[in-house]
């Protein structure tokens, strides 16, 4: 028995000595922090952070001081987790989601020919630019659906790509892959968008699509915040200026604008605070506020469209949104 113990211990000692020497000779420096960071990251290697893969971003974060909010796909949660790991305060930018600038499906738009080829937008482009009559239209052949790592893209019944803002992380992969280049990032709280990218003349657009922008410029005129301007034959929305009031949506004759799903809020005047100065009356674009000077004003439920301009301008803060709070709007306006 003693021999056995002796033999085994002897061999063990020999082995450990050898390994100890080898460890010194082949020492490699490994920062455990990098591994910890890698563990927190989503690990999808989407490249939205600007680095070629999660491990590279992890290294950049630990060694080169990349911002903790750099992982766009991971979003707020990842930024917070990383800031905890690194002991740094997180600066979180507003989340942006992708929107496809086209709503002309099979019902609404015409085609040049019957396409019978590979089910891929990038391959279809080489066949005379795709089967859609409008050269700017979404082909709906699932390229974006396939590349989205978060399953946020669905092709509708009519054959148009639609992006779910809940699942979309704004990583930007679909934007790079779309051969028509009609996908854009918009702030998640401001998803009102003009869903058309056609720069053709209105008469041409009408021939090809029932829901395209015909450059009538109604939206430009209606917008109380000057957020829409014309670029050639296309109306373009500036998301910085847009206050998501939704006034333009029902005024567009081809229904090309979308993005406000909630019913339009309405405002009411807080009687105790109203001084009857009448500024709200002057500002209201639909003449929904009435009242005599120096007397409490009232808002007409029938006419108020919830553009919220009056809330913005009232010097006494005497106007509020009626009913359930719309947090995105409130924070934007105040």
């Amino acid at each position: 028995m003693w021999i056995a113990i002796f033999c085994l211990s002897g061999l063990g000692l020999l082995a450990s000595l050898g390994l100890g020497l080898a460890a010194k000779r082949f020492a490699v420096e490994v920062d455990p922090k990098i591994e910890a960071v890698e563990g927190v990251l989503p690990g999808i290697n989407c490249g939205a952070c600007g680095y070629p893969g999660c491990s590279h971003f992890a290294r950049a974060l630990v060694k080169e001081g990349a911002p903790v909010g750099g992982c766009i796909a991971g979003g707020e949660d990842t930024a917070l987790a990383l800031s905890e790991l690194m002991g740094v305060k997180a600066v979180i930018g507003e989340k942006r989601v992708a929107v496809v600038l086209c709503k002309g499906g099979r019902e609404e738009s015409t085609t040049k020919f019957t396409y019978r080829g590979v089910e891929d937008c990038k391959a279809a482009i080489i066949v005379s630019g795709g089967d859609k009559a409008c050269p700017y239209g979404c082909l709906g052949l699932r390229t974006c659906e396939r590349v989205c790592p978060f399953d946020a893209v669905v092709i509708s019944e009519g054959g148009i790509a639609i992006i779910d803002p809940e699942k979309c992380t704004g990583c930007g992969i679909c934007i790079k892959e779309c051969p028509k280049e009609i996908i854009r990032l918009v702030p998640v709280g401001k998803r009102v968008s003009i869903l058309c990218y056609s720069n053709e003349k209105g008469s041409e657009v009408r021939k090809k699509c029932a829901v395209g922008c015909i450059a009538c410029e109604t939206c430009v005129r209606v917008c109380p915040f000057d957020a829409i301007s014309m670029e050639g034959n296309l109306a373009v929305l500036d998301h910085e200026r847009c206050q998501v009031c939704g006034l333009c949506i029902p005024r567009c004759p081809t229904r090309a604008i979308e993005g406000r799903d909630e019913p339009f809020p309405q405002v009411e005047i807080i009687e105790e605070r109203c001084t009857g100065c009448g500024i709200c009356t002057m500002v209201c674009p639909v003449d929904a506020i009435e009242g005599e000077k120096e007397e409490v004003h009232t808002v007409s439920e029938e006419r108020c469209v919830g553009c919220l301009l009056c809330i913005d301008r009232c010097p006494e803060e005497a106007i509020r949104i009626r009913g359930p709070a719309h947090s995105a709007l409130e924070s934007v306006v105040r």
Binding site: K112, F113, R116, G117, V118, D120, K122, A123, I126, V127, S128, G129, P135
Partner: protein, 442 residues
């Protein structure tokens, strides 16, 4: 001469030369033409006329820009109606000059014929060829003067006159060889002179015995030219395959050209145009186009003016005979399907094929069964099955490694695939992407 070699791969589809006995028919002068400013490989032309200008037949309407570019000319006399975007055989609207006929069809007085054209120097010959807008008329439309100006390091020893016309249905070159053989031979001698080459081979597929006989008869006393009968196989008429069969030389992979092995190839239609340009000073304003297929009443070989809308040609053949499936410019293998009949005839329009709806198959494809038919059929010695997988998965580096840029887009693989996979589209997609990335990297 007995042909011993044959290029690898290739297929033998049904020849369908239903229009081969129809002699070339002159068309009526069209009322209106649309002359695209880009009818060739290379930089598009710049318009040299404005709306309202009067032009005579043969006047220049578009100026070449850069070396790899040729002029375009008015095919009819009349008034320039407008310059703008018009439908084009390539499938998207491109700039073109619209001319309305004045009914006179008068030639311009600026033509410069040369009776003693063999006294002209090679440089002068090439300049005339360029000025007269001559491009490869086999379909590729490569500027001819560029092809006839290989860099000094490349010594050319053989000139090949391509009368193969391997695409099914097309018979324009066949009729040209029967009816205007002299112009082809004269054009060949002009080209050979400009290159300084004294050996020319006229290559004709053996399904055109009358053309072979005719050409042989005319070249009996010309030692520099010999006529060779080729076995019928598609795509025998493609440059690289022609050179392999006739001379057993292989054009290098990955961007090699015939001049790398000392050969220049020209289509018979191009040579006929060269002769007319040099001898009579005629710019390229018309060509022989085969209108064929079971979808037209009477298949014909028409001499059409450049810029004539294809619906006019189809009308001249009695119109559609039944419900139309596809209208293809070119042949059934490499032609481009069109969605508008307003598309004009351009310099490379060798044929218009009308397929009735009954002949167009349903586009349902199945998974690859790895039968290897495509590998056996590929004349460029590639592996379409693997390249298709790479294309589907966007694996462009691997596609490049497997030589996708050498694909000549002949359609053999697509033709034989039992699973009906759209191989040409996938390969074209991968090829375009690889070339774009190479350009970006450069």
């Amino acid at each position: 001469m007995k042909v011993r070699y044959l290029f690898g791969g290739g297929i033998h589809p049904s020849e369908q030369k239903i229009s081969q006995d129809a002699p070339i028919e002159e068309m009526e002068v069209p009322e209106r033409v649309v002359v695209p400013l880009s009818q060739h490989i290379g930089a598009p032309c710049e318009a040299t006329v404005s709306p309202g200008d009067r032009v005579k037949k043969g006047d220049r309407v578009g100026q070449a820009t850069g070396f790899v570019s040729v002029n375009v000319h008015a095919p009819i006399s009349g008034v320039v109606k407008s310059i703008g975007l018009f439908p084009h055989p390539l499938g998207r609207p491109l700039p073109a000059v619209e001319i309305e006929s004045d009914g006179e069809d008068t030639w311009t007085d600026r033509l410069k014929p040369h009776e003693d054209y063999m006294d002209l120097s090679p440089e002068e010959l090439k300049e005339i060829i360029r000025d007269m807008g001559i491009v490869g008329m086999g379909g590729a439309a490569f500027p001819t003067h560029v092809k006839l100006s290989p860099p000094k390091e490349k010594t050319i020893d053989t000139f090949i006159i391509n009368g193969a016309e391997c695409e099914p249905y097309l018979t324009a070159d066949h009729r040209l060889m029967l009816e205007e053989a002299e112009s082809i031979i004269a054009g060949a001698r002009i080209a050979m002179r400009s290159l300084g080459v004294d050996r020319g081979i006229i290559a004709i597929e053996s399904n055109k015995p009358d053309a072979i006989e005719k050409m042989r008869g005319l070249t009996e006393d010309i030692p520099e030219l010999e006529v060779v009968a080729l076995r019928v196989r598609y795509p025998q008429g493609a440059e690289k395959q022609l050179i392999k069969t006739l001379l057993n030389r292989e054009v290098p992979f990955s961007g090699g050209l015939p001049m790398d092995v000392g050969v220049i190839v020209q289509n018979v239609g191009t040579l006929s145009a060269i002769y007319k340009a040099i001898r009579f000073g005629l710019p390229l304003i018309e060509r022989i186009t085969t209108v064929t297929g079971s979808g037209v009443h009477t298949p014909k070989n028409l001499r059409a003016r450049i810029g004539t809308p294809i619906e006019v040609l189809i009308e001249a053949c009695g119109g559609f005979s039944t419900e139309v499936g596809k209208v293809i410019i070119g042949g059934p293998m490499m032609g481009v399907s069109q969605y508008s009949l307003e598309v004009p005839v351009v310099k490379g329009t060798s044929g218009i094929l009308v397929q009735p709806l009954s002949e167009v198959e349903e586009g349902v494809d199945h998974p690859c069964i790895r039968c290897g038919s495509c590998i056996r059929a590929c004349p460029a010695l590639l592996m379409p099955t693997i390249l298709a997988v790479f294309a589907q998965r966007d694996m462009f580096k691997e596609a490049e490694r497997y030589d996708v840029v050498d694909c000549i887009e002949c359609g053999c693989c697509d033709y034989v695939c039992p699973a009906r996979i759209p191989l040409v589209q996938l390969l074209r997609y991968a090829k375009a992407e690889v070339l774009a990335r190479r350009k970006k990297a450069a």
